[in-house]
């Protein structure tokens, strides 16, 4: 399918990458080679090749509709739930092709957790929200162990102090920021290796956002984090590496500092300086 580029910047060529060789130093957690996504006949992601390093925060930035969320959802196969969506190419987690027929999607999603744009706690108690994952995966064998996991997860999500005395009250009764941290606690309760965050702060006020950003920085010690964000300031604050997407293409990826101070590409420069987006 031929694609009509609406922007004048389309004349510039996108960086060429070679498959096989690692693109980041110090190990690769997730590797994508020539990943393509089609929604029916719309080509949403075009030949994206990138590597995500462990124990780092990688930010995906780009204008609306550029495919950054779509690509994020490829990493734990959330796109499987959309009938018309077709993913091709090669995406590997620790060297294992996650789109391989032998890979169990349930297990993959336990390894690659996800936090969504809108806080979406289950309409159940705070305790049940966090306990659900470990329980269905059979990670705990008795109540005390489950209690420990729930408390530990809430603690790491920085929520324990606020909800300690009302674990049985509904999770939907919390404030927006608390709900989002509850969702993070729910994600880390199953001990994932990677946490995907799809604009986790877009529905939150600045104070709640600051708390989440702080939390993301702490979580980096134990998890690999990929975050999609609309806010370039946020990307600059929390991430070590940044990838800029435009119209389904990965335009540029590199150290956050480099991307924001000295981008290679004219498109990136235009976006981060606010000339379009």
């Amino acid at each position: 399918m031929t694609y009509q580029q609406p922007h004048t910047e389309a004349s510039v060529s996108y960086p060429e990458t070679t498959a096989g060789s690692p693109l980041v130093a110090g190990g690769v957690k997730v590797a994508a080679r020539d990943a393509n996504v089609h929604y029916a006949d719309k080509h949403a992601i075009k030949d994206v090749t990138l590597d995500i390093a462990p124990h780092e925060v990688t930010a995906f930035i780009g204008p609306s509709g550029c495919g950054k969320s779509t690509f994020l959802r490829c990493l734990n196969r959330m796109n499987d739930t959309i009938d018309i969506c077709r993913v091709t190419g090669d995406i590997r987690l620790d060297g294992e092709d996650i789109y391989d027929r032998k890979v169990d999607v349930v297990q993959l999603r336990a390894r690659v957790g996800m936090v969504f744009q809108k806080p979406n706690p289950f309409p159940k108690s705070i305790y049940e929200n966090v306990a659900y994952g470990p329980r269905i995966h059979g990670l705990v064998s008795h109540k005390d162990e489950l209690d420990a996991v729930v408390h530990g997860s809430l603690e790491r999500a920085g929520l324990l102090n606020e909800v300690q005395d009302r674990l049985e009250s509904p999770g939907t009764g919390l404030s927006g920021g608390q709900q989002q941290r509850l969702c993070i606690a729910r994600a880390i309760a199953v001990s994932p290796e990677v946490i995907l965050m799809d604009e986790p702060c877009s529905a939150l006020d600045p104070i709640a956002t600051a708390k989440i950003e702080e939390l993301i920085d702490e979580l980096r010690q134990n998890y690999t984090i990929v975050i999609v964000t609309h806010s370039m300031q946020q990307a600059a604050r929390v991430s070590q590496r940044t990838a800029f997407f435009h119209l389904g293409n990965l335009v540029e990826m590199g150290d956050t500092e480099t991307i924001f101070t000295n981008p290679e590409h004219k498109l990136t420069q235009g976006y981060i300086t606010g000339r379009f987006g």
Partner: protein, 447 residues
């Protein structure tokens, strides 16, 4: 636009349209209010008519009889065995009691008139009493038995003349007939006996328990809705047990698992069409398949339930699918995101949220099934059944069919009972809807 309006300022022009917009809004509200008033007045008319016609059926006039339970009449062998007692001749006991109250009636004709005062079902009342307590044999007991329906109707003022029962008891004036004797239901002689009975203080209007405990009968005073109500309960039970699990499973499969292709599109269109198929067609299908092919018993609530299951399935499937669709996708994402399998996601998170909608759909379907007559006519549930069914395989009828049967009967007393049965059916429906509302409230969760 005229030259004049062209000179108006935008504010003035806006004001003119504003007036029109408000007028349109007021007009629309007026239409709505008129519609509601019309609908309500029709509803009130319906209820007033039904209650006005049917309230009388809850009262039945009875006469007190002093019955000597002679053992030689009912238990000559003195075995006190229930089988013999069931077959014994209680009519003669009733007759003896009546004749002793009216010693002046000696001719065949007069005695017949005396016997007619009391319901032909009085012997069953005595029989049931004796069978409950065989020690009554040989004693003299005082029993209240129902008056014949025509006398009951005269006393209620439903049949010429308009008599106030209490006035008649206190004064001994002649009954003010407006019709000549030949055109009346009861003759002067019969009226005389009735008045005599009333003056002796033996007649009393009391709560009509037979209406709620008996099955159908040719005698209106003995006809009750219990048989039909039990039949309806068995039928609905079968319908619910089959249609809820099948309907909900079909909805879950179609909504959550089935691939979206031409085949599922065709299935969806056909389910929607099925909801619009006239119910009698399901009756014909039931007749052809369940009765002819599978040879299931005729008139049985089991078959009625099967037919009504076919009829309610589309309703339940459509409502359940709508309920599943309305569960926010964020909840599914949340569940899938922590690694729940598709089934876990549905059972743990989607179903609890969709349950209120599914239950509402089911209860609406059940209410529809409860009021359904046509398909049941085809499978023989329109039969005259006196016995209260003991299982879903016994012949029986259902409430709406019972109403249909009574509405067809010429006796004035059945008119009254028709309305009373409608009241009971409506009561049932209101109860079911109340349950639906309660279930909704109980299961509804906010997110």
């Amino acid at each position: 636009m005229t030259a004049e309006s062209g000179t108006k300022s935008p504010t003035e022009r806006m004001r003119a349209t504003l007036r029109r917009r408000y007028a349109a809004e007021r007009r629309f509200q007026a239409y709505g209010i008129v519609a509601i008033v019309v609908a309500l007045s029709m509803l009130v008319t319906l209820f007033v008519t039904i209650i006005g016609n049917g309230a009388g059926a809850f009262v039945q006039h009875t006469a007190r009889l002093d019955i000597s339970v002679y053992p030689q009449d009912i238990d000559p062998g003195r075995e006190a065995d229930l089988d013999a007692l069931a077959r014994a001749n209680y009519q003669s006991l009733v007759n003896d009691a009546l004749y002793s109250m009216f010693p002046e009636a000696t001719s065949r004709q007069d005695r017949r008139a005396v016997r007619d005062l009391i319901s032909p079902g009085a012997k069953f009342v005595i029989r049931d009493m004796v069978m409950d307590d065989p020690s009554l044999i040989g004693q003299r007991v005082s029993v209240r038995v129902p008056l014949s329906s025509q006398y009951d109707q005269v006393l209620k003022g439903n049949v010429d003349p308009a008599v106030d029962f209490r006035v008649m008891r206190e004064s001994s004036t002649e009954i003010p007939w407006s019709l000549p004797e030949g055109e009346r239901l009861i003759s002067d002689t019969q009226a005389g006996y009735l008045q005599q009975l009333i003056r002796q203080g033996e007649v009393e209007g009391s709560f009509n328990r037979w209406f709620f405990t008996n099955g159908d009968s040719r005698q209106p005073e003995l006809a009750g809705i219990w048989g039909a109500a039990v039949g309806s309960m068995f039928t609905l039970m079968v319908t619910l047990l089959l249609s809820f699990p099948i309907g909900v499973s079909a909805a879950i499969y179609l909504e959550e698992f089935a691939p979206k292709n031409r085949l599922t599109d065709i299935i969806e269109v056909n389910i929607n069409n099925l909801a619009a198929v006239p119910s009698i067609v399901f009756g014909l299908l039931g007749l052809a398949v369940f009765l002819q092919f599978f040879g299931l018993p005729r008139s049985a609530p089991l078959v009625g339930g099967l037919v009504l299951t076919l009829m309610t399935l589309p309703t339940i499937i459509i409502a359940s699918r709508a309920a599943l669709k309305s569960v926010p996708p964020s909840i599914r994402e949340a569940a899938l995101g922590v690694g729940a399998s598709k089934l876990q996601c549905i059972v743990h998170h989607v179903l609890p949220l969709a349950m209120p909608g599914m239950l509402t759909g089911t209860i609406i379907g059940m209410a529809q099934a409860l009021g359904e007559t046509a398909p049941l006519l085809m499978i023989g549930m329109v039969a005259f059944v006196v016995d209260v069914p003991g299982s879903p395989l016994d012949p029986s009828t259902v409430l709406p069919v019972q109403i249909y049967l009574w509405a067809d009967s010429p006796e004035r007393a059945f008119t009254e009972r028709t309305s009373a049965a409608i009241m009971c059916l409506l009561g049932f429906l209101i109860l079911m809807n109340a349950v639906a509302v309660l279930l909704r409230k109980r299961f509804e969760r906010r997110w």
